[in-house]
Symmetry: C2
Subunit: 472 residues, 2 copies
């Protein structure tokens, strides 16, 4: 080899030597433990001084290097005071959990090895391990054997369902897009379904007008008769119904659409049946709760977010379908350089992503550690927490307006406590417990979901007290 | 509160007590350090026994619980032998890096606090911190102030660009989708562009036929005259040109499209100019390399993957645009329950995702630790590594067929070494160094990219020796 100047050293701040790495790793372990202990005893909501934070942030001009430990310490302190805390035991949140330790370990393993999960050839063990988890969850849902993958979130998984439905519905969609259809396409979801469907219809090139929000039954569930009428009307007017998305666990009230009736209608009308069980799907682990999801086994596709009730770190959604070949039809590509050992399984050829992180390990490690039984204990415990909240609030004159078998309450306060959104704002600002305001069947409700697996009796008492504290 | 049975304990496997958490955390720290040390001295490619692995995996039926430490130990061992190793110093890979320590620390912080980055109200500090990094990178690229966000990968960022371009091009797209356009839409990228564009066109509802792959100049760069001719022909035939995607750092050969000429044509024709600098964008940190990206400042949108040359963990892409209001037009929604302090900045209203992980901290911590200067050292070092590889191989009769200023070589071996793909397969299988085969301008080449920031002189020597070893 010709003589060349020696290579410069790698920047030590990015790639420190082994001893230094170990030291910083342990420093961070201790800093996180100490911080999260303070979080659990502190405010549920941000307490930082925004102007001061902005001034400090502006000083990060990336000109002078800084010691990593100092930057880590600063960052942990900013997070400690600058977010709504999912890890606080009085956080009764929007489905985002206190993450399990096995899931956090999985994140570290994925980060340290940094495998590329685009291809079976690069990452045979991770790809098979993810497929194992997907199969196990699919079987638990009673779906015929098929395929699936992990995604960033329910929005990505639901979007994947729509792309499959469109690809199946018209052989011209893949090449010519939405113009291939004989008329405007229609996608159905209930009025209580997730807000992301609007974006998804836009992104899929069928337009926001394609989303037909079907009436509910007054109790937050899609009305199958209204769905049938909507499909008939759309067909009569030259539109092309393609997919119905049922929700198993609505965001506002945890309600489950009548899956059996919707499945029957979808089969009769030749529509793709998607079940968005992003939160509610975890109930499949419990023998007691599972019957509430009956009908899910008829789904053409299913979304379950492990980063919701399975309590992994974000984002860790699952998309599961019995129609494995359709994934390849929708997401195939060709390159000269990607290694492959099995194109039908290569994630970059069967999902919306290309480069991808090893997400599924989070659920694998959690499931492997506690098994179905441990997870059943986790979800049933959440329902027990919510039962206690309900009992406590009803005794104080609150009215429960939803009838969900899952761990989510929608309530009306007694009139003396004033208007819902004002009340919720007051409680949230006080920082001792976190709940949300939501609309359920057209009226404002206080929304309470058990999202932290470590919530204790005294946290329930704190919540009930906070919700009943008079305006000060 | 009425008397109720006490709450059951949380499953200890998911939520262990503080002392146990600390013990397992440290156990994993040591296990990862030891494993990655062995990886660096071992095979670059999987050496596992697939049948044995499958048999062991099948035993994870999630019936009986298992000790977390045992599962962690098993998992680390499977990864050690079951992936292509990005962390191996002789891995000259498909852009996937050996991740920086600051990025790995960021992953841990994000996992431990698990903030919800969907909304400004939930995560004010993380959202502002990500915006700070996006602004800094955008300014480095010379883009006018605008907006942007972190995404899972270049595919998601490039897809975001297309949705913005379509949303701007026709006011009817948002509501009515691709049918709103007067004719079939066209999107341009070069023949050497990334394979994900096919999927992206499919997913966006404009169809794969919408992708017009423009001829290159024989050196891997888009030919602006061919682009002009294609646009004219498409218009003449009733199609609707919408966007041109220039590539700054092609996957096969690291080539940079003539950004200035393409920008001029895009401006003249009223096309959205997207620059896919997923890998090459990191060159912006170096004063020496930055001039090669001249023209990028004219982009309507820009993709840079921090998980490529910036060496964060996967996936950590950036999407940057001067057209901030368009992000809201494309991705807006409405819910009754999401808290918000600034809808124009809420990530769930301005990006394709909804729930989202705190990704940007990885680049923030890395940049904060070493600054632009440290990152310049990192990318310039990669170019120096590649210069040495080139010198070593050319001396042994190899021919370089690309002319990239970046850290990527496309080469032809001397005829005695045989056909490219056979040669690459042999080298990869031997497990001492990893390179790829690719097609560049219609012929097979050996593709070598400096992706590990810790590659040493002796690793370059190993690579050169391996590539010249006679078939055995």
């Amino acid at each position: 080899m010709p003589l060349q100047p020696p290579l410069p050293k790698p920047p030590a701040g990015l790639f420190p030597r082994a001893v230094e790495r170990a030291r910083i790793t342990d420093f961070l372990s201790r800093a996180l433990e100490a911080s999260l202990e303070r979080v659990a005893a502190g405010s549920t909501v941000p307490t930082f001084d925004r102007e001061r934070f902005r001034a400090e942030l502006a000083r990060f001009d990336f000109v002078a290097p800084r010691p990593l430990e100092a930057v880590l310490e600063w960052t942990v302190a900013q997070l400690e005071h600058g977010i709504t805390h999912m890890t606080h035991p009085c956080h009764f949140g929007l489905f985002n959990p206190n993450p399990t330790l096995p899931a956090q370990c999985a994140d570290r393993i994925a980060g340290a090895f940094n495998p590329q999960l685009a291809s079976t050839a690069s990452s045979p063990v991770p790809v098979e391990l993810e497929a194992h988890v997907i199969r196990a969850i699919g079987a638990r849902a009673g779906l015929p054997a098929g395929a699936g993958h992990f995604a960033t979130g329910g929005a990505e998984a639901n979007y994947t369902a729509l792309i499959l439905a469109l690809t199946r519905a018209d052989p011209g969609f893949a090449e010519r897009g939405a113009r291939a259809f004989a008329g405007p396409v229609v996608l159905y979801a209930s009025r209580e379904s997730h807000g992301a469907w609007h974006k998804i219809a836009h992104q899929a090139g069928i337009g926001r007008a394609a989303l037909n929000l079907v009436a509910t039954d007054g109790a937050g569930r899609m009305d199958p008769a209204a769905l049938a009428a909507a499909v008939a009307l759309d067909r009569a007017q030259g539109r092309v119904p393609v997919m119905v998305a049922a929700t198993a666990g609505t965001t506002a009230a945890g309600m489950i659409d009548p899956l059996g009736a919707i499945a029957a209608l979808a089969a009769r009308e030749g529509l793709w049946l998607h079940v968005d069980a992003a939160w509610g799907g975890a109930a499949l682990v419990s023998e007691r709760l599972r019957p509430h999801l009956a009908g899910v086994e008829a789904a053409d596709s299913l979304t379950i977010d492990a980063h919701k009730w399975f309590a992994t770190t974000m984002g860790c959604a699952m998309f599961i379908t019995p129609h494995a070949p359709l994934l390849s039809q929708a997401f195939h590509s060709a390159t000269s350089y990607m290694p492959s050992s099995d194109a039908a399984l290569d994630p970059y050829l069967t999902t919306v992503q290309w480069s991808r992180r090893f997400l599924g390990l989070r659920l694998f490690l959690s499931l492997a550690t506690v098994g179905w039984t441990g997870y059943a204990q986790h979800v049933e415990r959440a329902v027990a927490v919510i039962d206690r909240v309900r009992a406590g609030l009803e005794q104080r004159g609150w009215t429960t307006v939803n009838d969900s078998p899952l761990a989510l309450l929608a309530l009306l306060p007694p009139p003396a406590l004033g208007e819902v959104r004002t009340l919720v704002r007051r409680v949230v600002r006080a920082g001792r417990a976190w709940v949300a305001a939501a609309s359920f069947e057209g009226r404002d409700v206080v929304r309470i979901c058990a999202t932290n697996g470590e919530t204790r009796e005294r946290d329930v008492e704190t919540l009930v007290d906070e919700l009943n504290a008079p305006a000060g």
